[in-house]
Amino acid sequence: MNMATERKPAPMLDVERIRADFPILGEQIYGKRLVFLDSAASAQKPRQVIDAERMVYEREYANIHRGVYYLSQRATDAFEAARETTRAFLNARETREIVFLRGATEGVNLVAQSWGLDNLKVGDAIVLSTIEHHSNIVPWQLLRDRLGFEIRVAPVDDEGQIDMAAYRDLLDERVKLVAITHCANSIGTITPIREIARLAKEQGAVVLVDGAQAAPHLRIDVQEIGCDFYVFSGHKTYGPSGAGALYGRGELLDAMPPWQGGGEMITRVSFEESRFHEVPHKFEAGTPNIAGTIALGAALDYISGLGHEAILAHEHDLLDYAMARLGEINSLRVIGTAREKAAIVSFTLGDIHPHDVGTILDREGIAVRVGHHCAQPTMDRFDLPATVRASFGIYNTREDVDALYDGLRKTLEIFA
């Protein structure tokens, strides 16, 4: 950030205007105002994204990268423009370093099955952390079972932040990969990802960052982080489901074998051999989610238009307010209290089971996630089967926090 930007007053989000962009927020749930506090599972979509996807089908749809006709060219241009938008969003060096996929999960699987299969063997180790989403655990276990390398786990402290001393101790010459989240979906911890990457690099390890939960909240700069791979999902960034991206450092992507075979990823096929396209097309077999990917570009434009500083300031305000209000409830225990944290509040309410809390809040029009949040090792770390998770986004307000507070009071009354 340069001096000129720093001198500007803190930017503000015009939340009322943002809310007007999200048609679903006008829905009534059991006759009550929808209070959507589950953006960490999947965010709602602004009209700009919905319109972008509809526009493709109404005005410019055709298969891409193959037709000689006008429409196909137009669809191809829009698809490739989304790639450039995504490059800018992640501040990657080159547009070709962006591979379009279904989402973060597919990104991790691609790296595991392509890079991992070629580069990991018995005697090697990889490092994950306790607070990973299952999608950054299971693909590595599947590969471990085939190749026989070791999986090491960087623990977290009682606040839910990665124990950096313990992490450092795990790093030795056997470690070939560090795959760690930028922001924990279950408890909101923002990890010191630059330091994590720097230490991994000192050991010569390749670094993959799971950015699924960070992308809607934080400014991302893959060059500044110094990672080799970064994955995120469109549906958490106010974009469509089934569209997401993998950033891969160019030299690594060039050296990696294709993952899936099919059309679009080849230059010449015969029964004796096939020749593959250049990166990124080498990794994009088959007809992709054309309209969804173009709409993903619209979602990233929407976020960038609001500005990451303004988003962060708004969400910090909501987080502080939520922690203060929920702190008024004696029997409420917040899980995950790291100093660096996204607007995600995971908690338990006395000995009331999270599913009962979730059902009662639902009848108040409040959507929260209950369960293990696809992060069972995190739940195990805090010795809980499940939590209630309220997660906030650009369209949430202090009024939403108040509604949550009232809903929790009602829950306590019912179980009194």
């Binding site: 059991y30 009331i352 089971h353 999270p354 599913h355 009962d356 059902t359 009662i360 009848r363 369960g371 293990h372 739940m379 089967p385 499940a386 019912i414 179980f415």
Partner: protein, 150 residues
């Protein structure tokens, strides 16, 4: 539309907070384990079956209010009943909570099973109410593999 009170009736709150027949069962000759991976609910059902009769029933485990209350009421209900009647009740209870049968039947009312009729309005919670029953049924059938609602 059902009100929340129809789901969280007094009987359900009471049984969830003070579950009856909770704990291990000495002399049990039938056991089964049930698991609801969605909620993390786990339950063990222990039975003493003598001849054609369920003599004693207890349960262990942790779960939500609906699943705990359901296990508590169920164990109360089936004690002393013939196995055939217990199996018929299981079928009937299943129809009740999935909305296939109206909660007007005398048997359901007498045994307080009718209290669970509200679950039918919460499809995500039907499994919570039926977990203990499925597990009990597995115990009767002598199945060793854990029961899963998934």
């Amino acid at each position: 539309m059902f009100d929340l009170q129809d789901l969280y009736q007094e009987i359900i709150i009471d049984h969830s907070k003070r579950p009856r027949n909770f704990g291990a069962l000495e002399g049990a000759n039938r056991h089964a384990e049930g698991d609801n991976p969605l909620c993390g609910d786990q339950i063990k059902v222990h039975l003493i079956v003598e001849g054609d009769t369920v003599r004693e029933a207890r349960f262990e485990g942790r779960g939500c209010a609906i699943s705990t209350a359901s296990a508590s009421v169920m164990t109360d209900t089936i004690k002393g009943k013939p196995v055939a009647e217990v199996k018929a009740l299981f079928e009937q209870f299943h129809r009740l909570v999935t909305g296939e049968e109206e909660p007007s039947d005398d048997v359901l009312e007498v045994d307080r099973l009718g209290a669970f009729a509200g679950v039918r309005d919460y499809p995500m919670r039907v499994k919570c109410a039926t977990l203990s029953w499925h597990t009990m049924n597995a115990a009767l059938e002598g199945r060793d593999d854990p029961i899963s609602t998934e």
